[in-house]
């Protein structure tokens, strides 16, 4: 399952598994974000390519209006997936071990 909501100071907190079945839910939430935002991924266990598509679509939209999405609390599994995808060149990423 996936949970996504606003946390303190406007940070978006996401947890669970961002897979193909949950991508539409995440996209619908992130489509509401404007400007520069941080996605707190400490509780995000897993992401698939469908989830990567959600992040990329959001980043492209925000950057088109001089904003961006930062990723914080990224676990080693997510870090590897993001690096293999070249997303470390597209996002500011703060990892945790």
């Amino acid at each position: 399952m996936l949970a996504i909501d606003f946390g303190a100071q406007g940070v978006v907190v996401i947890s669970g598994r961002l897979d193909a079945a949950q991508a539409a839910t995440a996209q619908a939430f992130l489509d509401r974000i404007q400007g520069t935002a941080t996605l707190d991924c400490r509780g995000l266990e897993y992401i698939s390519s469908a989830g990567l598509g959600v992040l990329l679509k959001t980043q492209k939209r925000l950057m088109a209006s001089a904003g961006k999405l930062r990723l914080s609390g990224v676990n080693p599994h997510l870090r590897d997936i993001l690096q293999y995808s070249g997303f470390d060149q597209i996002f500011e990423i703060e990892t945790i071990e």
């Binding site: 399952m1 897979d19 193909a20 698939s48 959600v54 990329l56 492209k60 293999y84 995808s85 060149q89």
Partner: protein
Amino acid sequence: MTATRAFSRSYDALDDLFAFTAAAFASEDIAPGLRLDVDFVLEELFTNVVKYGRSTDAPVRIELAAVDGGVEVTLTDEDADDFDVTRARQADVHAPIEQRQPGGLGLHLIRKLVDHIEYRYIQEAGHAQVTFRKTLREPAHQGGADAGD
């Protein structure tokens, strides 16, 4: 021992698929650290069938077995055309964001994550099979049938 289960070709089956891998990893005593990568590869292969496979009620069967240092997994689409998913076009992960579009990363990431992957089509039965192996060793990153860039 091999754990086997059939799944309907629907995104709604993903939760059951992940529950199956979790149970199989436990029952087959497979290193838990491999499970997220196996889930990732299985999701990519399975959703590929859902998106691009035939519209049919035939199930997608998944077999999972422990091997030395890891796991071997076979996904069988039991009503399939002959299309070798392992030879799909490569993604350009170095392109600037302006040129990137969502999608197309699945096979690239599979190749990064597995030690070995192979495709087989069983003409008489109309079955398309993808078998991959994942161990605690680093991925081989070789050419040919091994998973490489």
